[in-house]
Amino acid sequence: MALTTTDFDTIAAISTPPGEGGISIVRISGDDAIKVADKLYRGKNLDKVASNTINYGHIIDPETGEEADEVMVSVMRAPHTYTKENLIEINCHGGIVATNKVLQLVLSNGARMAEPGEFTKRAFLNGRIDLSQSEAVMDLIEAKTDRSMKAAISQLDGNLSHLIKHLRKDILDVLAQVEVNIDYPEYDDVETMTSKLLREKAKDVHARIVQLLKTAKQGKILRDGLATSIIGRPNVGKSSLLNNLLHEDKAIVTDVPGTTRDVLEEYVNVRGVPLKLVDTAGIRKTTNKVEKIGVERSKKAIQSSDLVLLVLNASEELTDEDRELIKATSGKKRIIILNKTDLPLKLDIAQVNGLTNGDKVIQAAAIKDDGLKDLEEQIAKMFFEEGIENSQNDVMVTNARHIGLLNKAKQALEDVLKGLDDGMPVDLVQIDMTRCWDFLGEITGDSYQDELIDQLFSQFCLGK
């Protein structure tokens, strides 16, 4: 008899982002998921309800009989669930305190707190999704805006896999031809894979990978957000810019667990581009305490940013500190904002233009309404210059691992071309072609070797 220790225990977590929301969901997965929920649930007998049903009722503390929340409970039975295990989702309505209470009850009645990403890990371990899909799911969960979501969903559907498989197929054709020339040297039936042919193929594949990588920069921004810092002397209007950017629904606040509010990351959705605002705490502090931000601190923020919004006060002359900040941001993508243009102009705009090498300068009384629109337009243009609409149908590479591998594949092709330039024999140069193929295969999770041999025999008529 087999000692099966493979049964997973039952896990639970709050699956919606922390914070105040209309509803929040406590998810339970595992063999005992339904049993655990049933213990706490007052309503129908969850063990008897059909799979994929939503049931109205209340969560109560079984010890005290006290009501914790009014809920809707989704019951999904194995194996046709996300994790392939029994799955319960409790839709809580009573805000964060009530949700936490529900989770506490679930945890004290037979479930364990899930580790980050553990639901997806189970979906993967239980064979529900493959590696590349599980990567996509993680991206999807972390998607910051709709557009990020679209990119992740497209990957989940396998668009990227499809494209990569196409590339690999073309490389495989080349490899098979090289191999057949080696293994059947006396055979005149197969066209010899000459360096000229190989060069053409390598260039072709290279161009296609470069194309794909172009989307990567945008993809990364969509996925991780565009690290943006707002820089400027005290009292130039940084905090009002921040507040205007954050107004209404635009703010997405994620609290990184176990840390103080100081490293809070705030996201702003600017026309689908998620801006990740760096060091907002620093800006806020100045409004509270009127504490001067050191230039050093600004420089640190600049370093970790993809985009710098440099705010200058138009009603004052350029100070040394302004100049220093202009200098410190010169290597970065930046937008200069001349604030307080409603006050008498004292700043020499021509001088600013001269110092900023023609980087975009936006003028505004206070950064809202038209000024804000201007700014948003400018940001979108800066990072999606080729137009966002066009890229929507195409595959967008968003995952850092994929980007890394694509870069390696590209480098391998460049090695192919260099080898050919150096007059290396085709069968040696082919090593880099194979490496390129392997790197691409790592993205989709395909193996090789056997494929090559099958290709060899299906395509060519051979026989010694």
């Binding site: 008899m1 087999a2 000692l3 099966t4 220790t5 493979t6 392939k84 993967f124 371990l125 239980n126 064979g127 493959d130 590696l131 490899l175 191999e179 020339n181 080696i182 293994d183 059947y184 040297p185 006396e186 055979y187 005149d188 039936d189 080898g419 150096d422 007059g423 290396m424 024999p425 085709v426 069968d427 040696l428 090593i431 880099d432 194979t434 490496r435 999770g445 395909d446 193996s447 070797q449 056997d450 090559l452 041999i453 060899l456 025999f457 008529c461 051979l462 026989g463 010694k464």
Partner: protein, 648 residues
Amino acid sequence: MKSLVVSDVKQKYHAKDYDVIVVGAGHAGCEAALAAARMGNKTLILTINLEMVAFMPCNPSVGGPAKGTVVREVDALGGEMGKNIDKTYIQMRLLNTGKGPAVQALRAQADKHAYHAEMKDTLEKQSNLTLRQAIVNDIIVEDGVCKGVVTNTGAIYHSKTVVLAVGTAARGKIIIGELMYASGPNNTQPAEKLTVNLKNRGFDIERFKTGTPPRVDGTTIDYSKTEEQPGDEKPQHFSFETSDDDYISPKDQLSCWLTYTNEKTHAIIRKNLDRAPMFTGVIEGVGPRYCPSIEDKIVRFADKKRHQLFLEPEGRHTEEWYVDGLSTSMPEEVQQQMVHSVAGLENAEMMRPGYAIEYDVVAPYQLKANLETKMVKNLYTAGQTNGTSGYEEAAGQGIMAGINAGRRALGKGDFILKRNEAYIGVLIDDLVTKGTKEPYRLLTSRAEYRLLLRNDNADMRLTEKGHEIGLISDERYQKFLEKKKAIEMEISRLKQIRIKPSDAVNKFVEAHGDKPLQDGIIAAVFLRRPYVNYQTLLQFIPAPEEELNNRVIEQIEIRTKYAGYIAKAEAQVAKMKKMEAKAIPEGIDYSAIEGIATEARQKLAKIQPTTIAQASRISGVNPADIAVLDVYIQQGRIAKVESNRKGA
């Protein structure tokens, strides 16, 4: 007239005891027996027919891409194939000379009769080794351990270990058109009982098929209508011990001749497809894709107007010629028409018809990496018995099975070559990890590290191991060390010498269309340029103290010129070794790991890989499955089979 009366022996007798018994004296069996005997084991080698020792029932040739490298590997391990062909070849050619060093391949036409006679003589003269004619009917197994063999004459031979290398004799059946009869290769007696008994003992036995073309009388060939393919001028040998002085001058070598099939040949074949055993369903064995019969080629590649045929001499003292490319099992009269339709063969007399042969194979997933069967301890199998094809593949397995059976008999540990160490390692790992659905042929494309597994460096890779095993003499080992030292010293010298941009150098550089040197250049770096070789380099730098021979120079050039690529291949090996280091615990119940796809689960359970790397090479096991397996192992979530194995 009364029908022929035959009968089996009524009584068995106890014959001698040995350390190692090798069943079969083909290319695998000979290497196995020689290795075991040379390691100091009292060894017996049995063959159905003494005239069939190291016989070549198909191509009269040795070597070629990947295969030629295997011959050199066998030689570097102290095997015989390389020496034997060096003594008996009638033509030598280096193939792929226009390509890189990793894929250059030596190929020799053999005098098949001399090859057989020479090997038989070697076996006979080998101390510790007895060569005997007998058909083995069964193995002796006690408590799951192999203890010897039983022959058709009733002899019981006991031994510590047994190697089975029985080739196509295993329930062999020859097919020529509608004619079918029980036969081993070349119309010899088949071994009809051994594999039946193996099957009864629980082995998974499969049926494979291979074939051979007709032979024609050379005096009736019109060579003027064909194209000559002579041997090479430059001396080449398989064995690292053979001297250049022994090279047969090209004028004394025999040529091969190239001709083609044509539309007429194809029409004859198409017209008679209803009589082709390949297509009428009488052949149940699976044939090789890489060496298809001519009828198979014409059906599968219908748009091809012609196929190459090489006419190859079978020896110096025969007029039999082998028609390479015309392997067939068509009826004899159809074969005759096919032959006569070919340019140069219009009046050729067919001496033997081509035939297909079906035979039994021990499905190789039942083997461990040491070529021992998983089910019966101390029983090893090699060669065509394991589903391979080709003399070289057989020899490579033969020497490994012989070494391992011999070491077991001596109480020593297993000897296993890895994929990055030898083509032999690739071959055996493929067999035991992936199994094979058709006769397996080694191809350079099967070796992912082929730049490291070169034809030229087999001695560098394996001589040390051969010496440790005891198959390479101290004297040969000493020579090898000297060669190694000479290479290393000269490479390090070249790395230190700076060539000044003199007029002479720049004249030379510019003559090759390159820009003149501005500064000096390190000699080793200069050597990397495509138009520079070691000899030209010596024009600009002082010669080394001792003159270097061609083999040393070859290594210096290859290692310097292709250093970048070699480094890449080595990086890949390092990556693989990491996966190789991840051991899979024994006796996993794969059926309990749900995340692994069904097909992969079945394959893993069947093959029982020992490392993650090996598991990843099993076809049908995808990286996603490996990832799951890896995670399970790391988390210790392994479901183990309780150790209540049968028979223990």
